[in-house]
């Protein structure tokens, strides 16, 4: 074939994580700190419900926007956690993971030339999905000194008359940062004054260790302009089931459903039945997993403190984002060396945006034993680096 492929797609850079993955996959005995998914199995009663639905022969399509029962449970869940009312009939859509909701949400809202504000470091798909939706990504480089929260002045500076959407990714992958109620209130007025939409990606909402997660949709005047995205992957350890959802005003859901119906048809039926069980009877599982993550989080923070590695205390998701600036390498060089010399795989911060430079994403979706081994190796590595630096100075 001689005819060119889509220029827009050709121009999209492949994920920085992917590049790193290719190196890792050829090595043996690597201790990984690189995953963005829970290490727990999906709780058995949820799996059992999926199996039961298969046995019952519930293998048909569901309605485009999802099983009625599931939509009702989603709405109940948001009511009990955020005290926000949504109509299960026209304000919710069940998607193939939160990632589909991001994609179709952007496509449903954006016109050519619209600007989408993306705070970084953040999840890798916002920028390419914005480009594919014909809009222009406007990046805010979040600062370590603000613990990677989005500050009002940063937002104000990024807004132009063309601004359509702010993507709000908290609790954050890769930094573990959260935005508490005060932080959200500080930006809500700016959002309302400038009449922009918010795409709030709250996929890690259940993994919040300081206080309960607050959704920006629960603030006055925000529900009508918010696309709230969540899912089952992180909270219920259901990544492979591919199930997420979006809640938004019915005008938006209607358009998102159109894209979804032509591109996807409906989210996997088995997963939807399992998800009903998760929302009905899974609170205790979530609480137990959260307790375990929190223990590991404390363990890692203490390990960094003992190694004298600078790291702000992240209160969300399952990542810590230590600063490795003192070693005088880029985050990619550091991660590559750490992998080569000690066979520990952590993700360079720059995989999540330029402002991730000087940082590493370290996941604690691993057993304490695994983390212990990894920290021993990391300790050896940084000790060696510091010795080398001292020797150079002499």
């Amino acid at each position: 074939m001689t005819k060119e492929l889509s220029q827009k797609v050709l121009d999209i850079k492949p994920s920085g994580i992917r590049k790193f993955f290719d190196i890792v996959s050829e090595m043996q005995d690597v201790i990984s700190l690189g995953v963005g998914e829970p290490d727990f199995d999906t709780p058995w009663h949820i799996r059992d419900e999926g199996i039961f639905s298969l046995e019952k022969g519930r293998t048909f399509y569901t309605s485009n926007s999802g099983l009625k029962e599931l939509k009702q449970e989603i709405v109940n869940y948001i009511k009990r956690t955020q005290n926000v009312d949504y109509n299960p009939n026209n304000e919710v859509i069940v998607t193939v993971g939160g990632s589909e909701a991001i994609d179709i949400g952007l496509r449903a809202l954006c016109n050519e030339g619209d600007e989408v504000i993306i705070p970084q470091p953040s999840y890798v798909s916002y920028e390419p999905c914005t480009i594919l939706a014909n809009a222009k990504p406007v990046i805010i480089d979040l600062k370590a000194e603000n613990e990677f929260r989005l500050k009002p002045d940063e937002l104000l500076k990024a807004i132009t008359p063309k601004t359509k959407i702010l993507i709000l990714p908290y609790p954050n992958n890769p930094t573990g940062a959260i935005m508490d109620k005060n932080d959200l209130e500080a930006i809500a007025d700016i959002i309302i004054d400038n009449d922009i939409y918010v795409m709030s990606d709250e996929i890690y909402s259940e993994l919040s260790y300081k206080e309960k997660h607050v959704s920006i949709a629960s603030l006055p005047g925000m529900k009508e302009r918010t696309i709230l995205i969540n899912g089952f992957s992180k909270s219920y350890a259901m990544t492979g089931w591919r199930l997420g959802y979006a809640l938004a005003p019915k005008e938006i859901i209607k358009q998102m459903t159109k894209i979804h119906q032509f591109a996807i048809m409906c989210a996997p039926t088995t997963s939807q039945y399992a998800a009903v069980e998760a929302l009905k009877n899974g609170d205790e599982d979530v609480a137990n997993m959260r307790t375990s993550y929190n223990q590991r989080r404390r363990f890692l923070l203490n390990a960094f403190k003992e190694m004298n590695i600078e790291c702000f205390e992240p209160y969300g998701a399952f990542y810590v984002f230590p600063c490795i600036k003192e070693f005088g390498m880029t985050s990619e060089e550091f991660a590559t060396k750490l992998l080569e010399e000690e066979k520990v795989a952590a993700i360079p911060g720059t995989a999540f945006g330029q402002s991730g430079e000087d940082h590493l994403r370290i996941s604690y979706a691993y057993s304490l034993d695994n983390l212990k081994k990894a920290m021993e190796r990391l300790n050896r590595f940084v000790t060696r680096l510091r010795e080398r630096k001292l020797n150079l100075l002499r």
Binding site: F20, F21, S32, G34, E37, T239, Q295, F299
Partner: protein, 160 residues
């Protein structure tokens, strides 16, 4: 802290005090004094090891014995339970609702020894009406731990 502490050491009683303090976000002194309280109050009753004896060359036979008894006036089942649990070979004794009264778990080296215990010691006690002995053939899961080898999950090494 109490509940979380118990949950952690129930799964791993060998965890060091320093590590316990770190993961619970407490000082070592606090954790230590809480542990001492829990022991004093009889909430922590021991620190045991879960062993899958089937994987050793040591012979062990476990039996569950359903025991029906006549409760004694003024003492209910406690007296007869005590007579039974004082035997060192008795692993556990539970008072049970339903078709029988006491469940006795016995660990011995052979079927013969269990049979001897039941016929010579247990059945001869005055208040015992009947016994039914069940031998355990295989332990799949014990104390919340799956004993058969769990398959390794094939998680990708790196995911976004």
């Amino acid at each position: 802290m109490r509940e979380e502490l118990l949950a952690v050491i129930e799964k791993n009683s060998r965890i060091g005090l320093d590590e316990l303090a770190v993961i619970l976000g407490e000082t070592e002194e606090n954790v230590l004094s809480e542990l001492e309280n829990l022991e004093k109050e009889g909430i922590i009753c021991g620190y045991h090891t879960l062993i899958n004896w089937e994987k050793t060359s040591i012979e062990k036979v476990t039996a569950l014995i359903e025991v029906r008894v006549t409760p004694q006036r003024g003492q209910g089942f406690d007296k007869i339970a005590e007579r039974i649990y004082n035997y060192p070979e008795v692993h556990a004794v539970y008072l049970i609702s339903g078709g029988y009264d006491l469940l006795v778990i016995l660990e011995e080296k052979s079927l013969r020894e269990i049979s001897n215990f039941v016929s010579d010691k247990l059945s001869t006690l005055d208040t015992i009406l009947s016994t039914a002995t069940h031998f355990i053939l295989k332990k799949y899961k014990d104390h919340g731990t799956i004993l058969s080898k769990k398959h390794e999950y094939e998680r990708e090494i790196i995911t976004p």
